[in-house]
């Protein structure tokens, strides 16, 4: 369905200018290889700055890669970027082009520009607005809506006018759970009825675990793993995540705590540790008894999530992924 080989893109270094510091060159995607199958919800997971947006902009013909190939349904998108618009629908991270339109006109205009007749565009607009629960606010301009509502309106625009491939860059950012469910139901219906394929960018771990069939984990422009969420979690199944929150500071005078510090990822008063079950039990016993307990504010034990997978694979960012 969609095959990516050796995709590489480097942003040139920026010279310092008033108000903007100099920036070194950034290799935003680095030899990326992907095979997305038909009818699949395929995720790109990674912290901010991992190169997810840069990657999907190359998939959608918006950006020419320095090297590498993108083939979608047999079409070479690097050589013919204009064909992408006739194969896929893209939801970018920005809504600038639609901000001053009403929800209804944003969906209708997008449908017309996707080649629908006025009648078709209006019929599809009505169906999609109903499907996503946007009908009550159809007459309001996007920029007067909350962030989540605006995002939902942009999803609506992306869904008007059928396409076999949907490329969605963080579609559910800012949405409440009801809106999220509406989006996933709409996506799933298209897949069940028409075999629609979805490439989804996310930095949300829970979302990745629940909606994706397969996920590629991106870190600093490289795919560091690609599998089903459960298979990825298998890789760290022999580990338990322990989170400790100290009241003020960790009681390092306790030798066992000082030993744990070596293995902890620290973030303020919070320590995160990935331990074998046996070690985890010992650690919890240490901090819940004796001198350390007085300094402890809270602790949790959890089975590993995709975030742990990311960290176990050597992901560099310590706080880029969102858990909720």
């Amino acid at each position: 369905m969609c095959t990516v080989r050796g995709l590489t893109k480097t942003y040139p270094a920026l010279r310092a200018r008033r108000g903007a510091p100099a920036a070194p060159e950034v290799r935003a995607t680095d030899g990326v290889e992907l095979d997305v199958r038909r009818g699949e919800i395929f995720g790109l997971l990674g912290p901010n700055g991992a190169g997810k947006s840069t990657l999907v902009r190359q998939l959608t013909g918006l950006m020419r890669p320095d090297r590498g190939t993108v083939r979608i349904l047999g079409h070479d998108i690097v050589a013919h970027p204009e064909r992408a618009a006739r194969i896929l629908a893209y939801l970018g991270q920005e809504s600038t082009a639609l901000d001053e339109l009403t929800v209804s006109l944003a969906a209708e205009t997008t449908g017309r520009l996707r080649g629908l007749s006025l009648r078709q565009a209006r019929a599809e607009r009505d169906a999609v607005l109903d499907e996503l629960g946007l009908a009550p606010i159809a007459g309001r301009p996007l920029k007067k809506l909350s962030g989540g509502q605006r995002r939902l309106a942009c999803v609506a625009a992306a869904l008007v006018g059928e396409r076999p491939l949907l490329v969605l860059d963080e579609p559910t950012t800012g949405m409440d759970p009801v809106a999220r469910r509406a989006v996933w139901a709409a996506v799933d219906r298209r897949r069940a009825e028409r075999g629609t394929t979805v490439v989804l960018v996310t930095h949300n771990v829970i979302e990745a675990e629940t909606v994706l069939d397969r996920v590629a984990v991106l870190d600093r422009g490289r795919v560091i793993a690609c599998d089903t969420p459960s298979a990825l979690k298998e890789r760290v199944a022999d580990e338990v995540r322990v989170e400790l929150v100290w009241r003020e500071r960790a009681p390092l005078e306790v030798p066992e705590v000082a030993a744990l510090k070596e293995r902890a990822v620290e973030s303020g008063r919070r320590w995160t540790l990935r331990l074998a079950p046996e070690e985890a039990r010992t650690a919890v016993a240490t901090v819940t008894g004796g001198a350390a307990f007085a300094a402890l504010d809270d602790f949790t034990l959890a089975t590993p999530s995709l975030e742990d997978v990311y960290l176990a694979l050597g992901g560099a960012a310590r706080q880029g992924l969102v858990k909720g």
């Binding site: 369905m1 199958r37 038909r38 009818g39 699949e40 919800i41 959608t60 013909g61 918006l62 950006m63 020419r64 349904l73 047999g74 079409h75 970027p81 204009e82 064909r83 992408a84 618009a85 006739r86 194969i87 896929l88 629908a89 893209y90 970018g92 991270q93 920005e94 600038t96 082009a97 639609l98 001053e100 339109l101 009403t102 006109l105 944003a106 209708e108 205009t109 997008t110 017309r112 520009l113 996707r114 080649g115 007749s117 006025l118 301009p141 920029k143 059928e162 396409r163 076999p164 996933w184 799933d188 897949r191 069940a192 009825e193 028409r194 075999g195 629609t196 629940t210 909606v211 069939d213």
Partner: protein
């Protein structure tokens, strides 16, 4: 999440799977006129949300200039230029200045991605926006022209010629505005260029040309809005020279065609990075 396994999905998509060797059939693209109409309509509706205060500003500015110039102008000959110039300044303000700003911001904010991932001809996006901005100028231009004629005691009989002057000057100026907005490397620069263009149209348009030094007159002749001003100013004559009016409008039309073509190319370039 889905209960449907990927390999037993129905094959009824508009684009058939081309993995079996041959590339898939592409989905439809939008044709020029319907998509131009759709862009035009959506742009017009933006005016309701965002542009109405700005249109007032354009009109007040021109009306104010005419009131100020009342004590300065000398006879009907000069008053013609003041009224025609002030009317065309409304067009310059909206079509050149605001459109440059719009495209500059759209480009900087990633808004061009939206259009670039839709199968729409670049000309439809540029012409639709340009036509909409030219339309925004109609009420302000009419109000300015009528007010000016009454203020300076000029005949209202040939006001109809604005029906040709507004779209032609509008095409020329919005074309330039779009070029500024799409070629300027930064949005602030696009705004600056648009404002400079408008200031030039203002200074060189409302002052009677007879009093200008030679170099300034040359500059005036290089400005496309001048030909809109000239065309309209000529129609106040007792017996207008319609051939010259037509010639002036032809210049506007020519500049319009060229600048809109350049803007379309600039758009194409700006949308693939």
């Amino acid at each position: 999440m889905s209960v449907v396994p990927a390999d037993v999905l129905p094959g009824t998509t508009a684009v058939q799977d081309g993995d079996a060797g041959r590339p898939a059939v592409l989905g439809p693209s939008a044709r020029l006129w319907p998509s131009l109409a759709a862009v035009y309509r959506s742009q017009l509706s933006r005016a309701r949300v965002a542009r109405i205060p700005l249109l007032f500003v354009a009109t007040f500015q021109s009306v104010g200039i005419m009131i100020m110039m009342r004590g300065v102008v000398d006879g009907a000959g000069e008053a013609r230029y003041v009224v025609a110039g002030a009317s065309v300044v409304v067009v310059a303000h909206v079509a050149l200045n605001l459109l440059a700003q719009y495209f500059g911001q759209l480009r900087a904010g990633g808004g061009l991605d939206h259009y670039a991932t839709l199968p729409v001809p670049p000309a439809a996006v540029v012409l639709g926006a340009a036509a909409a901005y030219a339309s925004f100028t109609v009420p302000g231009t009419l109000v300015t022209a009528v007010f000016g004629c009454v203020l300076f005691g000029l005949p209202l009989g040939n006001l109809w010629v604005l029906a040709a002057v507004i779209p032609l000057a509008g095409a020329a100026l919005s074309g330039l505005g779009a070029v500024c907005g799409l070629l300027a490397p930064r949005p602030e620069l696009a705004t600056l260029l648009g404002q400079l263009g408008m200031s030039a149209a203002l200074l060189l348009g409302v002052l009677p040309p007879d009093r200008m030094p030679g170099a300034v007159r040359l500059l005036r002749d290089l400005l496309p809005s001048t030909y809109g001003v000239e065309a309209y100013a000529r129609t106040f004559a007792a017996r207008p020279d319609w051939a010259l009016v037509l010639a002036d409008m032809a210049v506007c039309a020519g500049v319009g065609v060229v600048s809109l073509a350049v803007a379309t190319r600039a758009y194409r370039r700006a949308s693939v990075r």
